[in-house]
Subunit: 191 residues, 2 copies
Amino acid sequence: MPELRADARRNRDELLDVARQVIREEGVDASLRDIARRAGVGIGTLYRHFPTREALLGAIIGDGVRRLSARAADLSATRAPGEALEEWLTDVARRIGTYRGLPGTMLELVWDLEAGDKDLRVTCGDMMDAGRRLLARAQADHAVRPDVTFDDVFIAVAAISGIAHKSGPDPAARVLAVYLDGLRSAGATRS
Amino acid sequence: MPELRADARRNRDELLDVARQVIREEGVDASLRDIARRAGVGIGTLYRHFPTREALLGAIIGDGVRRLSARAADLSATRAPGEALEEWLTDVARRIGTYRGLPGTMLELVWDLEAGDKDLRVTCGDMMDAGRRLLARAQADHAVRPDVTFDDVFIAVAAISGIAHKSGPDPAARVLAVYLDGLRSAGATRS
DNA sequence: ACCTGAACACCGTTCAAGT
DNA sequence: ACCTGAACACCGTTCAAGT
């Protein structure tokens, strides 16, 4: 990442600040034109710094995603395997649910590894790896059924966290609780 | 519902036919202008028949929703309580998952009873009532934990059915299976 | 009663022209 | 190196004018 000229740096930072606020209010489909306008730069400047909407989104949530990786390591060191996984998934749900529409983007981004900007993809990769270890540990401890994949668990949590913005946070939490109970169950109950 | 003039009737039917196809291909956010164009009518005609996007959506899925009500009665008469509920929820997931973006719309429409057009709201109300009876029966039979609400179960299924269009149908089915196991579990496992 | 399409106020995205 | 904004091809929605 080469150094940026001072004015470019300022523009980038302002853009990110404004985008964070606007997207928090309006969701991931917020108008890019509006963001540029509020940041006091031309629309072309926004596109120069963030060639695609996903690149902008990646820059916005990169920090949060990295924090989730760190949190996984923390929990793994301080909690019982099953507890650590559940706590972490709850954190994931809360963080992803922050921006309206982000759960959907995450579902796509995680599944179709072509999509999204490269930086975000490796950041997400790190976080997914951290989660994968948490799940493996919980499964080794028989705290979680053996027949689930980390990818499946992740997309479940992403999908459920999208409820928060359409039906309120409480239903989302309750649905997640039931899903976690399902993870704890033996699995393969039905013929 | 007063009679429609013959040309109006034709326009309405053609609009619905085209909309069904376009929305199946492009999702619920498909361009209304495009639908009017392909149906060979002016954009104003589309708005005259369907004053809002949700009214159009309602007309499109009304049949499917009604079929779900009927299916609930069927299953209730022919299957064990727990089985009937699970089969029905699986049907719901498949039907809602047909149109990209529909799960999100359903989540909003079901929760915020102001939204959506009136006809659809009563149709959905009927279907929800049929589902509610199925859940009550399963709970009375101790096939499903007593601490869940039908609304919670429904939004869970809607949220999960949205996975199909972002990560493929197989993961969606697996996630739903785990959630159903959670429904079958005792509940209130954690402090 | 019903249909049409121009009109308005917005988008996303690109790119020549400027500094 | 970086910024700007006009230009293009689209939207959703309304409403006067037509039949």
